[in-house]
Symmetry: C2
Subunit: 345 residues, 2 copies
Amino acid sequence: MTLGSVPVLITSPLEDRLVQEIADTDPRLNVLHEPDLLPAPAYHADHALPVVDTPEQLARWQALLAEAEVLFDFGPLALAESLATLPNLRWIQATSAGVGQFARRIGLTRSQVIVTTASGVHARPLAEFILMSMLMFVKGAFHLAAEQRAHHWQRYAGEEIAGKVVGIIGVGRIGQEIARTLRGLDARIVGAVRDPGDRRPEDLYLDRLLSMDQLDTMLADLDFLVLCCPHTSQTDGLISAARIAALKPGAVLINVARGAVVDEPAMIVALQSGHLRGAALDVFAHEPLPQDSPLWDMPNVLISPHSASTAASENQKIVDLFRDNLRRYLDGHPLRNVLDKDLLY
Amino acid sequence: MTLGSVPVLITSPLEDRLVQEIADTDPRLNVLHEPDLLPAPAYHADHALPVVDTPEQLARWQALLAEAEVLFDFGPLALAESLATLPNLRWIQATSAGVGQFARRIGLTRSQVIVTTASGVHARPLAEFILMSMLMFVKGAFHLAAEQRAHHWQRYAGEEIAGKVVGIIGVGRIGQEIARTLRGLDARIVGAVRDPGDRRPEDLYLDRLLSMDQLDTMLADLDFLVLCCPHTSQTDGLISAARIAALKPGAVLINVARGAVVDEPAMIVALQSGHLRGAALDVFAHEPLPQDSPLWDMPNVLISPHSASTAASENQKIVDLFRDNLRRYLDGHPLRNVLDKDLLY
């Protein structure tokens, strides 16, 4: 490789400062960044993919993609299905952790292109969302909000995290981060993963570690069911109507995985009946959540617009990961966070 | 002492099971418990003091108080000022931590009667209230609630606890518990106490430890100001209009101490102007918070009816403490949580 011989194309909005950091990583890199082709970010760490409006833009994108060896993010949605067959493309660094289904849909899992995820970057913001939601339920924040609207002062007793039984489905970076945080508050934590292998519960900050096959054995004990697993063929519809019915009455469901992991109509019925005490939801079967969804008006439901993972600090963390991976790539070492094309995470 | 020779009078509502635990602590105790003289608890761990309605009730209370050597809680408010001069009374175990001002007002701090507080019992529930409030502000929960009411889906970027500067006024059990919890989320934590002595910050889970005299040096750096100090002559009005003005613009105030620690009108002005980004308040200048207080309707204020410390597990914890103190008392050993009659905590 010679000076500037590895073309790296930036395909979603990124601060100039961070683009410069990427370029400064190694002189062998040639960073391609054309801000006028990229959408304006609507908020910090908005990874909106480009929309191609004109034939001229289309031609520019096609030329850039044909040249690129490395992509930062997936580029225009309109061209996503071409990525698997681009002549020079070797590697795509995603800006999200849950990209398995998308990569499969656009053919990348049947190609030679390496995809690395942003797994880990969002663990802390998601753990904080989960912790906030759990505290809001144990401390009665939904009750408090209603009392405040009514200017009504009535003392009451809340609950505590201590002793609550929390089931975590998927104990990757997010699951471990929430487990670590909850240990300090003396929750009892059970995790379920596809294959526990020889991992010990304590290595993952858990009291117990089950395989997904044993999921049904824990449902009746749970005060909180936390979903932070990848969306795969195994987890699609995992939390079925039958499993919701098997949950302890009064359990709370927290979903930061993907809407498709839950039978949403069955969840709505359980929230209406009170079998589920409440839910904190960052993901939905259809996003944006339709205007007429009954979830919007439920007093025991917290709706987050798929933003629980998003924090102002996010782009820096993704760029730190990308730079580490670029050094590994240039040195011929294995990359971090490589997407498993069978497991889809 | 002979069998059952130490009369212990229960003067606020307590479950029969826990009264029995107290009686079982030692055969030298003679537990006096007349449930028909006690109010019905309005919620778990409601420590409502008895109201004396009839001359007959008054006579019964006077007889019981004259006999008692040890009180569990302070008994009828109407008789509180008699406690300092009762013939046999030696010790009162309170069910609250912040009883210094009350004990002073009813003359106990000028008497020989020992008062022990429930300090420590409420630390975890209060730390969880503080943590919940901080997470609600960093994750934008107030914004989310408004969006949900409007059925409005708009992605956004939240913030994180990591890197936030938190000032804790009063680093007793509550302050240490919130500091311990926040360390796991990488906040930067400064504590201020009356007299640091030779304590090291790390012993209190802090990054820095200041004396109250140095309070003004930290205000401009704080993202969160957390009040969990006792109400004493030194902390009365501590957070004055001038100190509120000296806070970093956009700071959040969290008060679980006492309303009198803050200049409430100045706080309200700062919340209206946006100088304070918000507040989470469990205590107020006047309680119940008056119907016409502007605080009720502020979208950036969380109102809690002096209940953040109250949890279903509380009575068990207080009784555990009381039983330990009863054993110490009978054995002539120093009690735990003795109220300092000068410092008032």
